[in-house]
Point group: C2
Chain length 241, copies 2
């Protein structure tokens, strides 16, 4: 049986805070647990917060903002983006330097520390995950996995879903290629995006407005050394880039 436990009672996180210490104090971790953390608290701890008062928007940012958007926020989005895929002011779908395709290149105003600030994605979410895993394992003596998550929109489907943008200590993809189903048919195209499914399960316990920015998924058997970078479709294989 798999369990998803919310990590409750975490305080508001600020720059320099020890996220591992806060999580370890809030929940009793067990060997094999996968700790899923909304990137927002990782980013805040890492100081990835931008004060919009210091941003001078470009002409392009003003255009993308349209009549309803904040051109300063769009300027930050453009700085975080390596490529803009689609725009419908003030909505921008962009590719980040990590290769993630998402709204606003991951720049987010919700759950930001102050009303005139925005939160960026971590510089390298796989490194953030590895650092958090190391600190949690050292503190607890348990063997753990960590997933850093964000909620992404999807092409063709309504709504956002939680996905893995950083990972450590887990298999990220479950590769069934070459295995056979019970009828002997080779499952030759089946690679499960395990880390994304773990992130989605965690979100069910997190709840965006409930100040539960972390959840533990327990009872999986997914130890490994994958990174979320492996979830980025290589451009040469991507039919939609």
């Amino acid at each position: 049986m798999i369990q998803v436990l919310p990590v409750e009672g975490l305080p508001e996180v600020g720059e320099g805070d020890d996220v591992a210490a806060l999580i370890a104090a809030a929940v009793e971790l067990e060997d094999g647990d996968v700790v899923c953390v909304a990137h927002k608290i990782v980013s805040k701890a890492e100081g990835r917060v931008v004060d919009l008062a210091e941003i001078e928007p470009s002409e392009e940012a003003r255009e993308l903002a349209g009549p309803d958007g904040d051109p300063r926020r769009l300027e930050v989005v453009l700085r975080e983006a390596v490529r803009v895929l689609r725009t419908r002011p003030p909505l921008v779908i962009a590719e980040t330097r990590h290769g993630f395709v998402c709204a606003s290149a991951g720049v987010d105003a919700s759950n930001a520390p102050a009303s005139d600030t925005v939160v960026l994605l971590p510089e390298d979410p796989d490194v953030s995950a590895a650092r958090l895993r190391g600190a949690l394992e050292e503190r607890t003596g348990k063997t753990l996995g960590v997933v850093v998550t964000d909620t992404f929109g999807r092409a063709w489907r309504v709504g956002i879903a939680n996905v893995a943008i950083g990972a450590a200590g887990i298999q990220v993809l479950h590769d069934l290629r070459g295995e056979r189903d019970p009828a002997g048919y080779e499952l030759h195209t089946t690679v499960i995006a395990l880390a994304d499914e773990i992130a989605a399960a965690a979100e069910l316990a997190m709840g965006k407005t409930l100040r539960v920015p972390a959840a533990v998924v327990r009872g999986l058997d997914v130890a490994g050394e994958g990174t979320a970078r492996a979830l980025v479709m290589p451009p040469e294989q991507d039919l939609f880039r």
Copy 2:
């Protein structure tokens, strides 16, 4: 706490089988449980299986098959598709009549009853979910939700993830628009694809090759009357259609 329980010991399902009876015999359901079922067993019970020996492939199907594909399978894909988005023989990304965008218009050879057959998506997966919910509730006396699932590839990301293609008895979208985060910022673009996250969580317990085509997600508070049709992005809002 949320729990995900595999439904183990289900037999191979054939046309006309009573899926509700099989599931109710295999697991003790509780009020509020969301029963997630891989569409494959729903489709087989509904007779949505095609014998490839009876299919005469068109010229278009032969082209899409390329040197490695089965043109008869591609012919079935074309018949299930209302629109082809991308092709790289023998891979076809197509839109189904339900509005789902997925590989092979949902036509699948893995886990098919015989090596020369393919399984289609249910005619109307929301109707399948509602029927299964009704039968399970009647049999158990419990208030239940049902999600019919399939694993879909995603644009820009590697791997497939389980999503909801049919739903009954649950909220499918969790609409946070108008709610405020703890800092007072309005979460104006946040609609969580709850049913997809439930499907993803269920897949963690299902396992494609383990003959576990169903799982129960317990401990959610998601009763409602949504349908998976609501997860299809309306074409006029879709930036990627």
